[in-house]
Amino acid sequence: MSASAEALVVEDLHKSFGSVEVLKGISLVAREHDVVSILGSSGSGKSTLLRCINLLEIPDAGNVYVHGELIRMTTTSGAARVPEDKRQVERMRSRLAMVFQQFNLWSHMTVLQNVIEAPMHVLKVPRAEAVERAESVLQRVDMYERKDYYPAHLSGGQQQRAAIARALAMEPAMMLFDEPTSALDPELVGEVLKVIRGLAEEGRTMLVVTHEMAFARDVSTKVMFLHEGQVEEDGVPAQVFDEPKSARFRQFLAGTLR
């Protein structure tokens, strides 16, 4: 692998909810074209990590750099930590496209409207161009035929593919997947994984929180196992899966791969 630029750097991230410390100092580097899989049992903090990266949750401490640019934080008079510049956060978010476990498509819009919405109203892309872009990404995820459907009229797998198209239409620097197949019926998981796999093969930079071990092993360039808010194990998949150093990770693998 060639040494490419750092797409995302996370330094010593901490986050507590009340008295529960969910993230206890997590660091992470993702280079361009990296596919980082984040594994962990529920409650390990993996989703929180993802949500802290694009500031859906505000980390209590630590830094996030997107393409070398630091997201500046400041402290209010009430001792709460907040982003210094909301615009910077919005700009940064528009470059980190998120795909949610529950799809979170905008239910009052058709698939096409969902896909052109953020490009038009965040990136200010002219409508015609946004539609053109949307149609091409919809074809990419095999949802072009359903572009005029409302989310409620689609299966879970179709909704998630539409949500991926929505993310792609942002032409993001990096994609964040938050357990993208966990809410799907088993028979629908395959069609979504196939799309994500295809994106990985194109060389897109991705951060994927997942339970799909086979996917993590075959597709990732890097695997990270979280336990109780800390990085328990990380490295390239072959090494991590074949010679796990941590006993907990071995346990976890035994449990999930059974």
């Binding site: 978010r93 528009s94 980190l96 949610f100 905008w106 058709t110 965040v122 409620a152 009229h153 929505r166």
Partner: protein, 251 residues
């Protein structure tokens, strides 16, 4: 029954109906314009800020429209400073007093409806909007409000019907609306039964027209919530403003 009296006075009824339609449409437009910011502020997480629109909504929903209208029409005349000010040009006219009362009233009901609908916005959809870098205002304008408006549409239909019914109060303060026209016909010909029956008939027609318009609007706007195969929502009846509870009880 003396139908001829009514037929002779059809032009008067039509004029009254036109005033009624004007009052209803104008107050709905004004009320809606006021309801959106009202609902927005009422959903604020800061209690001190949310208190004021909520108090406004509580007052206007908890008191009769008739009393509100009297407060504005008869009540304003109590204040000499108001009568000496430029505003008196507006409050002097019964028409504007009625319009203001109706608009303030419907703003409170519509605001509450929107507030409820906004509070029901699926959290994930708002989060997705944040995750795509939408600013607070863009989120409200593009995601929260359009979605809330669609949810509020059926109750808004009831609100429009209520406003039509409430507008009859204008006839009490010298305005010649549909009800006022009926009063004139009754006064000239002493035919209370016929004159008010005719007015009732015209109101019924207007109500059915509104119901029909909203049914069309709902089929357009609610395509996204309705399963593709039409389910058995109660079609024949239109719920009153008073009872949203049974609107959902179709079985």
């Amino acid at each position: 029954m003396d139908v001829n009296v009514i037929l002779e006075n059809i032009p008067l009824y039509i004029e009254g109906m036109w005033v009624t339609v004007q009052l209803v449409v104008l107050s709905l437009i004004l009320g809606l314009a006021l309801a959106v910011p009202l609902a927005l502020v009422a959903t604020s997480r800061r209690r001190f800020i949310a208190f004021w629109p909520r108090a406004y909504i509580y007052f206007f929903r908890g008191t009769p429209l008739l009393v509100q209208m009297f407060m504005i029409y008869h009540g304003t005349a109590q204040f000499d400073w108001l009568k000496d000010s430029a505003l008196w040009v507006v409050f002097k006219e019964a028409y504007w007093c009625a319009l203001i009362a109706f608009a303030l009233n419907t703003a409170a009901y519509t605001g509450e409806m929107l507030r409820g609908a906004i509070a029901q916005t699926p959290f994930g959809e708002v989060e997705a909007a944040r995750a795509y870098g939408m600013s607070r205002w863009t989120r409200f304008r593009r995601i929260i409000l359009p979605s809330a408006c669609r949810r509020a549409l059926p109750s808004y239909g009831n609100e429009v019907i209520f406003m039509l019914h409430g507008s009859a109060l204008a006839g009490v303060i010298t305005i010649v609306d549909l009800f006022g026209a009926a009063k004139i016909v009754n006064a000239r010909h002493f035919v209370p039964f016929e004159s008010f029956m005719a007015a009732g008939f015209f109101y019924l027609c207007l109500t059915l027209l509104i119901v029909w318009i909203f049914r069309i609007a709902e089929t357009h706007w609610h395509a996204y919530m309705r399963p593709r195969e039409e389910e058995g929502e109660e079609k024949g009846s239109f719920p009153a403003r008073s009872a949203p509870a049974y609107a959902a009880k179709g079985l």
